[in-house]
């Protein structure tokens, strides 16, 4: 019995055949696809990760073929977003504390629960090395794309809270099992799980009804450090292992943002901006003493939602567009447009005067013709969605600066965290006015800082001090009651800034 294996890679795609039960890494190797596997296919290094459509990330050396599959070989680019280190990562002595004492081969798990994806990092607590990284789709996605829709399911329905809680627990369970299978680690050796996420996700994992977050005054039930019992949650890991939820600031500034900030080096010093552009569009301004934070509610346009041909950043999504040249993730045939592609295309349209500074187009802009039946294009409404989203972020930046009394000239760095931020072409982002032109040479893309923060919290028990220090210095700005917001927002909707 032979199966079809379709291979998508940065440089092209092809379909090969494979025998029933053959190991994916061998099949790929025979065809000349080099998969980096320092452990030589022993299943211990976790470097040979590939993405199988519909199945997620798997270790190629462990995966046996029993059906037709599509393999997306991660370009180095893809994995680097998740990779926990960059030059601005805080350096901390390895000091894992209590969890390292619970076993002689202790392993910690750091989890970053995003609304769309969940990332797992397994850390060897004897030396601090990263053993495995797994990415999972948040299984709650069937209950709505954004946190508000999911909370909406829970209003007056305790059953739904429980259900959404269990979905997250299931994801944690299955990724722990995957790790155990992949590495031969014993369940009892997993001695700590440290979790970051937006405030709503933290409520769900704790099994707490997040409803209050969705109604004015948007007060969460908790923001403090929470310790859950792994056994009570049904996780059969080390009997004394704890699940630590890192603290948040407010309903819309979660521990993902705070841990991300804490993961940055002290030497960054001075005044810097920090943003993680997802659906909530959090923006933070940090000075040596005080910190200001707000959530701009940009919406999911940059995640491809509400865009006629929009898509998540997955295989087939147009992720870059330069002078009419299209690049897609995994180099497969264009299928949709993800956030970074969208920003590039609109920047291109602005340069070519295909869209007016006010956002008016004369006809839809055709990006790609897919056979006779389908065209991938940008419509008038798509432009409007982008205008609203980028104006919200730009207005948030304006307001933080005004509140702090600083100007653009005082800002030394502008840290862009998160997946979308990492792939984004900063030139295009400035062109469309998502980021201010004045900060052009100060932009720094750092990948998944939230995940880095969670990992650091396993590596050092003193990391929590950094987090508490940040929390004690941060003021949350509620934009809903901010008198300047409407003016700043509206004056940033046009592409050419017409700030008065």
């Amino acid at each position: 019995m032979k199966y079809k294996v379709e291979i998508l890679q940065d440089t092209g795609y092809e379909t090969i055949e494979a025998e029933e039960g053959s190991v994916l890494m061998d099949v790929l190797g025979e065809k000349g696809y080099y998969i980096y596997s320092p452990c030589g296919g022993e299943g211990t290094c976790g470097k040979c990760l590939v993405h199988i459509r519909g199945k997620g990330i798997v270790a190629a050396c462990r995966f046996k073929i029993h059906e037709d599959i599509t393999v997306i070989l991660q370009g180095e680019r893809e994995m680097s977003v998740l990779g926990a280190q960059h030059e601005y990562t805080a350096t901390m002595d390895f000091n894992p504390g209590q969890p390292a004492l619970l076993s002689d081969k202790p392993v910690g798990c750091a989890v970053d629960i995003g609304t769309t994806t969940i990332v797992y990092y397994f850390i060897d607590l004897t030396n601090g090395l990263l053993m495995r990284t797994y990415v999972d789709i948040n299984p709650q996605s069937n209950y709505g794309a954004d946190v508000i829709s999911r909370i909406n399911r829970c209003v007056g329905d305790a059953g739904a809270v429980k259900k959404l809680h269990l979905l997250l627990v299931e994801s944690v369970k299955s990724n722990i099992n995957r790790f155990i299978t992949d590495t031969g680690t014993e369940a009892k050796d997993i001695t700590a799980i440290n979790v970051v996420g937006n405030t709503t996700m933290l409520h769900f994992i704790a099994g707490v009804d997040p409803s209050p977050i969705a109604f004015s005054p948007f007060k969460p039930v908790f923001t403090d450090y929470r310790i859950l019992n792994a056994r009570e949650m049904g996780l059969r890991i080390n009997a004394e292992a704890k699940i630590n939820l890192l603290p948040s600031l407010s309903g819309y500034i979660g521990s993902d943002i705070i841990a991300g900030l804490a993961s940055l080096q002290d030497s960054l010093g001075g005044l810097f901006l920090y943003t993680d552009i997802g659906t909530n569009g959090e923006v933070v301004l940090s000075s040596e003493d005080r910190i200001w934070a707000c959530s701009t509610a940009a919406g999911p346009a940059f995640e491809g939602a509400n865009i006629s041909c929009g898509s998540l950043a997955a295989g087939g999504a147009i992720c870059s567009y330069k002078d009419g040249k299209i690049k897609t993730i995994a180099n497969s045939e264009p299928d949709g447009i993800c956030g970074s592609g969208l920003v590039d295309i609109i920047a291109h349209m602005l340069s070519g005067k295909l869209v007016s500074p006010e956002g008016k187009i004369n006809k839809p802009f055709v990006v790609y013709k897919k056979g006779k039946s389908r065209t991938i294009s940008i419509t008038q409404q798509d432009i409007r969605e982008v205008q609203l989203a980028k104006a919200a972020v730009a207005a948030g930046i304006n307001i933080l600066l005004r509140r702090s009394g600083y100007g653009y000239g005082d800002v030394e760095k502008f840290i862009i965290a998160g997946g979308f931020g990492n792939y984004l072409d900063t030139g295009s982002a400035i062109k469309i006015g998502l980021f201010p032109e004045q900060l052009n040479d100060k932009l720094l893309q750092v990948g998944n800082a939230a995940g880095t923060g969670a990992v650091l919290s396993l590596k050092s028990e003193y990391f929590i001090d950094r987090i508490n220090n940040i929390l004690s210095r941060t003021e949350y700005l509620e934009l809903s009651s901010n008198e300047d917001f409407m003016e700043k927002f509206v004056s940033n909707i046009n592409f050419k800034s017409q700030t008065t």
Partner: protein
């Protein structure tokens, strides 16, 4: 039509508030809606003529352009500001009775929701359509709407909601208002709201944009 009324009209259409305003660049250093309305009144043109032949038709053009997606929020807001500037001179005549409004429109963002940009635009466009607008602000509980209904008999009510979660409060508000005042007409809108939802909750009218609401009010006011 008088040339000056024509001019007021184009100031409103293109958002020229007053002489000092730099916007739009093409009308720099010219008189704006504010100055021209004063001049028109000084020349003896009646306030209702300025309103009905100059201001309202201009706002209608703006509203229609917005509905067709030809202009967007900033341009509509500039037009509304120009209209407000002209209205400053007209307002005293509403009190004296020399000029009349078409009726009263009460609007607010429903309980639990603080989004008001869309609601503000709707309020401005309806005011520009010749209506008196009572804006109750954001996070408005049903009782507050009821107070206004008692205070302005025959008014129309508009509800705005931007959150999936507060659409439920919109439903509750409509229900409460209709129970106590069965003849009151309730208009609803906001990004997540649809006409299906309107039907489900028993509201009278849904519009994705302000101009639809203006049209509805104009055609239904005699019936009230």
């Amino acid at each position: 039509m008088d040339e000056i009324i024509q001019k007021i009209s184009s100031c409103i259409e293109y958002g020229k508030i007053n002489r000092a305003s730099p916007y739009p660049p093409g009308m720099k250093d010219q008189d704006g809606a504010y100055e021209l309305t004063r001049q028109a009144l000084d020349r003896g043109i009646s306030p209702s003529e300025i309103l009905e032949s100059g201001m309202i038709p201009a706002m209608e053009i703006v509203g229609n352009k917005f509905s067709r997606n030809e202009i967007f929020v900033p341009q509509m807001l500039m037009s509304a500001k120009a209209m407000n500037a002209a209205m400053e001179h007209i307002k005293p005549f509403f009190i004296s009775g020399e000029a009349k409004r078409k009726g009263v429109f009460v609007i607010g963002t429903v309980a639990g929701d603080l989004h008001d940009i869309g609601k503000n635009l709707v309020a401005m466009m309806i005011e520009g359509g010749g209506w008196e607008v009572i804006d109750l602000g954001v996070d408005v509980k049903p009782d507050k709407f009821k107070d206004s209904i008692r205070q302005y008999p025959g008014c129309f009510v508009g509800l705005s909601a931007l959150l999936t979660t507060t659409m439920e409060n919109m439903k509750i508000t409509v229900k409460e208002l209709k129970e106590q005042y069965p003849h009151i007409k309730v208009l609803i809108g906001g990004a997540p709201v649809t006409d299906d939802f309107r039907q489900k909750i028993g509201a009278d009218f849904y519009s994705p944009d302000p101009q639809g609401a203006v049209k509805y009010l104009n055609t239904n006011r005699v019936l009230q």
